[in-house]
Symmetry: C2
Subunit: 140 residues, 2 copies
């Protein structure tokens, strides 16, 4: 009970902190994304299914799109690099890496400390490195 209250307040503060008005839609979406201890990958389609089944109140697809974009801009989500023509998101925003299985087209996280780089290039003039990701393509 108190636990749930705290969790909701945390979400509300998080949203306010990024200038996002804490609407009931955004709170519900945030619960679905950040509620659990586990991070995961999703697409707008899978998130929409997850939210719009379970006894939940319905949220329109347009709002799911808008909210995922807003959360990404706020830094709560990270868009994943793939070779598909659909957007994939990761609730794990820490620097980390991926295995990309070309057979199943599945992405799996690789922990940050599982990969070490001993040489990194200098970025082009006027630019700085924001993030570095390694994708390891695997197959049978």
């Amino acid at each position: 009970m108190t636990k749930f209250m705290n969790q909701k307040n945390e979400i509300i503060n998080k949203l306010r902190g990024s200038g996002l008005r804490p609407t009931k839609q955004r709170i519900l979406i945030a619960k679905n994304l950040f509620d659990n201890n586990k991070t995961f990958h999703f697409t707008v389609e899978t998130l929409n299914r997850k939210i719009n089944k379970s006894g939940n109140e319905k949220i329109s697809l347009a709002t799911i799109y808008n909210t995922v974009e807003a959360f990404t801009n706020a830094g709560y989500l990270k868009e994943i690099l793939t070779s598909k023509n659909k957007s994939y998101y990761d609730t794990n925003i820490k620097s980390h890496h991926h295995f990309y299985d070309e057979g199943s087209k599945e992405l799996t996280d690789i922990n940050y400390n599982q990969i070490k780089l001993s040489k990194v290039p200098i970025p082009p003039k006027g630019k700085k490195i924001k993030n570095l990701e390694v994708v390891i393509r695997i197959q049978k």
Copy 2:
């Protein structure tokens, strides 16, 4: 003259070697992709524009799609990992890395020896590493 003949024959052999019948469309597309010394990035849209302007005979968009897919499957092209919802291809099929500029959304090649890894994870059981790519996101 002879030079051009050789080049065309090379392309024909390359196609035959992958079980692709050397049609005039495939040969023309291959010339546009593999003709020069430089490798480059492209989308179906940019390739289509390149081919269907210059006095060339016209090739249908569907054929460009089919051919790019066939060339990718044959290993002549590599699909680039991005966070866009459009396919990007690279005529450089050697292992190499990219800068991804989040502002301009431009990809630039990083030479293979500009990056060194000192630790790489073991792939999941039954799988082996096919390729490893580093994407460095840069910004102002």
